[in-house]
C-alpha cells in the first residue's frame, strides 16, 4: 500500500521537476540578455570605431526581440499551467499534486512578467543613446 503511494509521489515529482526548471528560464534569459548587451557594448566602444555602433544597436535590437519572444513563450506556458482562467484559484496552497503544479505555473508566470519588463528596460539605452559617449 505504502509502496504504491511512494511510487505515485515519485512519479508526480519527476513530472514536476521540469516545471521547477521552467520557472528559472525567464530570469535566466533576462540575465543572459543583460550580460550580452552590456558586454558587447563595452567591447565595441573600447575596441571598435563609431561605424560599428549601428551594427551593435541592430544586434541588441534583434537579441532583445528574441529574448522577449522566448520569455513570452515561457510565460504563456506558465500561465496555462497556473490555470487561473478555468478555476479562478489565485492561491494554490494545498499540499496536493495539482496545487503544486499550479503554484509553479503561478510563480513561473510572475517571474516571466518581471523578466519581460527587465529586458525592455535593459534595451532602452540602446534605443535612445546612439553613441558611445
Amino acid at each position: 500500500m505504502s509502496d504504491i503511494r511512494d511510487e505515485q509521489d515519485a512519479h508526480e515529482f519527476r513530472a514536476e521537476a521540469l516545471s521547477l526548471w521552467r520557472i528559472t528560464f525567464g530570469p535566466l534569459i533576462w540575465a543572459l540578455h543583460f550580460v550580452c548587451s552590456y558586454g558587447a557594448t563595452a567591447l565595441v566602444c573600447a575596441k571598435a570605431g563609431a561605424e560599428a555602433v549601428p551594427v551593435l544597436r541592430m544586434g541588441i535590437g534583434i537579441g532583445t526581440l528574441l529574448a522577449l519572444a522566448l520569455i513570452f513563450w515561457f510565460g504563456l506556458q506558465a500561465w496555462r499551467q497556473w490555470d487561473l482562467r478555468r478555476d479562478r484559484e489565485w492561491e494554490n496552497d494545498a499540499g496536493t499534486g495539482e496545487d503544486r503544479h499550479q503554484f509553479l505555473g503561478h510563480a513561473g508566470f510572475l517571474l516571466a512578467a518581471i523578466s519581460f519588463i527587465g529586458v525592455v528596460y535593459v534595451a532602452l539605452p540602446a534605443l535612445f543613446i546612439g553613441t558611445c559617449a
Binding site: A113, Y121, L124, I129, G130, A133
Partner: protein, 332 residues
C-alpha cells in the same frame, strides 16, 4: 530637565546656520541656479523626475486612502484585480519606462565634443592640477581654479592621482568621477558670466571636504586676455617686501614642490604658483587670496588642511611670512 533647553538651543542654532548657509550661497553652488546649458538640462530632468515620483506617490496614496478610509468595504473581485494590476503593476511600469526614455537621450549631450579649448584636470590630495590645451596643442599649466569662456563648449578631460575623486560644479553641469589611470570626459557650455563654486564630491581622504575650487565664467574677450596672461611667466617682485619674499621662497626650498615659471622653482609635487595671486581663492577654494590668509596657510598648513603633503612653516618669523605672502600675492 537640563537637556531640554540645550536641545532647543542646538536645534535653533542648527536651523539658523542652515538658513544663513542657504542665503550665503546665493546659488553659487546650487543645482537650482543653473548658469549653463548642461545645468539647465539637469534641472529640467530633476523637475520631470520629481513630477513623476510625486504623481506615483499621490496616486498610490489616493488608492490606499480610498480602499481603507473612503470605501473600506469588500469590493467586487474584478475591481480589486483591476486596481492592483492596473495601479500596482501596469501604471508604474509605464511611468518609470517613460521617465527612463526621457532621461536617456540627455546623457550624450553632457559629454558633447568641445568647440574650443580642452582643459585637463587631475585631482590630487587635496587640490586640482589644471592644464589648458589650446587648439594648437600648447598647454598652459595652472591649478585650483577653472576659467571658462561664456557661450562656448569647453571640454573637461578628468583624471586623478592615487584615489578616486569626483568633479562637480552644480551651477554648470553634472557630476563625474575622477578615476586614477582612467580618463573621463565632460563638457560645459556656460551661459552667464560669474563665479561658481565646485567641490570634490567623492570622499578622498582627511581633507576631502576642503577640496573645492572656483569656476570663473568670462566673456570671450576677457577670456582671451586672461589666457594670454596665464601663459606668461611670473611677474618680478614689485616691492622691497615682495623681493624679500622671493628670497625666503628660494631659501626655504618651496621650489622643490612648486613651479613658478620664469624662476628656478620647477617642482611638480604641489600646485603651480606662477599666477597664484590672480586666483579667486587660496588652498583649493577654502581661504581668501589675501596677505593674511597666505601667511596663515604657509605657517599652519597642516592645521588648516589635515594630512596635507606640504609642511607647515611655523618656524619662520612673522616678517618672513609677511614677505612670502607679499611675494605670492604679487604673482598675478
Amino acid at each position: 530637565m537640563r537637556l531640554i533647553p540645550s536641545v532647543t538651543l542646538l536645534r535653533s542654532t542648527a536651523l539658523l546656520t542652515g538658513l544663513s548657509l542657504l542665503s550665503a550661497c546665493e546659488g553659487r553652488q546650487s543645482v537650482l541656479n543653473p548658469a549653463g546649458r548642461d545645468a539647465q538640462d539637469v534641472l529640467g530632468l530633476i523637475w520631470v523626475m520629481f513630477g513623476g515620483a510625486a504623481l506615483l506617490w499621490f496616486l498610490l496614496g489616493a488608492i490606499f486612502a480610498y480602499v481603507t478610509r473612503v470605501e473600506p468595504r469588500e469590493m467586487p473581485r474584478r475591481w480589486g484585480e483591476a486596481l492592483i494590476i492596473g495601479g500596482g503593476v501596469i501604471f508604474p511600469v509605464i511611468l518609470l519606462g517613460a521617465l527612463l526614455a526621457y532621461s536617456l537621450p540627455m546623457m550624450a549631450p553632457q559629454r558633447a565634443a568641445e568647440e574650443g579649448l580642452k582643459v585637463h584636470i587631475t585631482a590630487e590630495q587635496w587640490w586640482w592640477r589644471v592644464a589648458y590645451e589650446l587648439p594648437d596643442g600648447r598647454r598652459i599649466v595652472s591649478a585650483n581654479e577653472l576659467r571658462l569662456p561664456v557661450g562656448r563648449r569647453t571640454g573637461l578631460v578628468l583624471n586623478a592621482h592615487k584615489v578616486i575623486h569626483a568633479f562637480w560644479v552644480p551651477a554648470l553641469g553634472g557630476k563625474v568621477d575622477m578615476i586614477p589611470g582612467r580618463e573621463t570626459y565632460l563638457s560645459f557650455q556656460p551661459e552667464e558670466p560669474g563665479v561658481y563654486r565646485g567641490q570634490c564630491a567623492e570622499f578622498c581622504g582627511a581633507s576631502h571636504a576642503l577640496m573645492a575650487f572656483e569656476t570663473v565664467v568670462m566673456t570671450p574677450e576677457d577670456y582671451a586676455a586672461w589666457l594670454e596672461a596665464e601663459a606668461a611667466d611670473a611677474q618680478k617682485p614689485a616691492s622691497a617686501e615682495a623681493y624679500r619674499g622671493a628670497e625666503v621662497f628660494a631659501r626655504e626650498g618651496c621650489g622643490a614642490c612648486h613651479t613658478v615659471r620664469g624662476t628656478s622653482a620647477a617642482g611638480q609635487v604641489g600646485p603651480d604658483l606662477t599666477h597664484v595671486g590672480s586666483r579667486k581663492s587660496l588652498g583649493a577654494g577654502i581661504l581668501q587670496m589675501t596677505q593674511d590668509d597666505l601667511s596663515r596657510f604657509v605657517a599652519h598648513t597642516e592645521a588648516i588642511k589635515p594630512e596635507v603633503a606640504m609642511p607647515s612653516y611655523d618656524h619662520l618669523t612673522l616678517k618672513d611670512l609677511r614677505a612670502l605672502a607679499a611675494y605670492l600675492k604679487g604673482l598675478t
